[in-house]
């Protein structure tokens, strides 16, 4: 347990030293929040009631889908994995420590958004904060699950950049954070429902924490766990 906790703490430090993760988990999401928060609430003042949820969906999607996978490829697509395996470091430890570390980074970013949005843009705080944070934790977990699958299954950084964008862009565009989902054509609405962003967004809204909005995120997470487990088992046996 001691070694595992040390691994998580160390990974958190390594993430802070890595410019790419700083950019995808902190700098871009917070700049986006500062710019778009101002624009959204100026153009449509009623967006103040959902601004926190919208900005969080954007931040989590960026950190989980664009930030986490390159770190995983750095470990699992290189000799690092072999060095770990050769010298007694379990092969799963890299994935789990990166997952938990990214979870903490994303949670920090989201807390910053929750704290700043009411002050800067007069955004409305969620009425049931415990449910909101529980929904947020589930949404981050589910999104990181998809990021983990991308990082373990895509073989190189160039391909990953393309695949991650193919997941990230529709996730954001079709989740309902940019414009109401009801305005989308049916097929785009259906595509949007494939990605966890639209489910996470609804789950975090006031009175949105219900099984109807929750089940899909849980299914996504467990599917990701199974896929990652299979990939790691294959890598171990190789």
């Amino acid at each position: 347990m001691n070694s595992f906790l040390y691994g998580v703490a160390l990974q958190w430090k390594l993430d802070l030293r890595s410019k790419s993760l700083l950019v995808t988990c902190y700098i871009v999401p917070l700049i986006f929040f500062l710019l778009m928060g101002g624009i959204f609430t100026s153009v449509m003042p009623e967006m103040g009631s959902t601004l926190i949820q919208s900005m969080i969906v954007m931040s989590v999607s960026m950190g989980a889908l664009i930030g986490l996978p390159p770190s995983l490829i750095e470990t699992y697509g290189s000799d690092i994995k072999k060095v770990y395996k050769a010298n007694g470091v379990p092969i799963y430890s890299g994935l789990v420590t990166m997952f938990l570390s990214a979870f903490v980074h994303l949670m920090v970013t989201c807390i910053v958004i929750v704290l700043l949005a009411p002050i800067l843009f007069e955004a409305t705080l969620p009425t049931q904060l415990p449910f909101f944070f529980l929904a947020l934790a589930i949404y981050i977990t589910s999104s990181l699950g998809i990021g983990s699958v991308l990082g373990l299954t895509v073989k190189n950084q160039a391909k990953l950049t393309m695949v991650a964008q193919l997941v990230f862009l529709p996730s954001i565009m079709l989740s309902g954070i940019m414009f109401p989902i009801d305005l989308l054509p049916d097929f785009l609405e259906a595509i949007g429902r494939i990605f966890p962003a639209s489910w996470g967004y609804r789950l975090m809204l006031d009175n949105g924490f219900c099984f109807e909005n929750l089940w899909y995120l849980i299914v996504i997470f467990f599917a990701a766990v199974i896929i990652c487990g299979i990939v790691l088992k294959k890598q171990k046996e190789k």
Binding site: D79, A86, N87, P90, S93
Partner: protein
Amino acid sequence: MNRAIQVRGLKKSYGSNIVLNELNFEIDKGETFALLGVNGAGKTTALECIEGLRKYDSGTITVNGKTGIQLQSSSLPAHIKPMEAVRLFAKWNRAKIDFTMLHALGVEETTKKQYIQLSTGQKRRLHLALALIGNPDIIFLDEPTAGLDVPARVSLHGQIRKLKSQGKTIVLASHDMAEVENLCDRIAILNHGNIAFCGTAAELTDKIGEKYFIHIKTRQGNSTFETDNIEDTLISLLDELKQKEIHILDIKVDRGTLEQHFIEMARRETE
């Protein structure tokens, strides 16, 4: 049990390409053993099968003791610092950090640098330190000095000798014949997935034959002569030099380096 490693009938293929063809050899405890071979001979594949990092098709491998492994191509997260890596590996191996060993390998000197900022030599020494963290009985070193400059190479050789003096079993894969000749008790030469030779350097010399090398240094330059008949060649060479009134500055006779024998063996195998 005096054997550290026993390999019997080890076979490994990639599709129709047979990389290892029924390898058989043993390594005694405390022995320094080298696997030699040209590129693609199967050294790394053989090592990785023994280390448990690669599946093999058939055969049995017995390893008696805790292992520490330094891979041919190794890497760590770009931003990790050497001591952080040491602590991480020590914790997973439930081992106490041996600061004397770290000091000897110069790992402590690099504590402020991140992995990406280390030189090739510093990286090699760090990976050797990580392989030694769990105080292993058997140490696998795959091309440990590849890409190192002379001082770094000498320093690493010193470390390997120290490990040998501590009674560790060392299995070395290398291209560097001088390194193997200086450090190893026995060698196995791999050729096209087969062991072409297994024994001491002296045994290899005997196998190659009674070949001598005469190195003569004169004011005109240095010359080396290869012969099977040392007596006759030496006499005729000296006569010739005397007739030509060439003054000898130095003369040396040896039975060839391991490199010369290896080249000869590779040539014979090809023929």
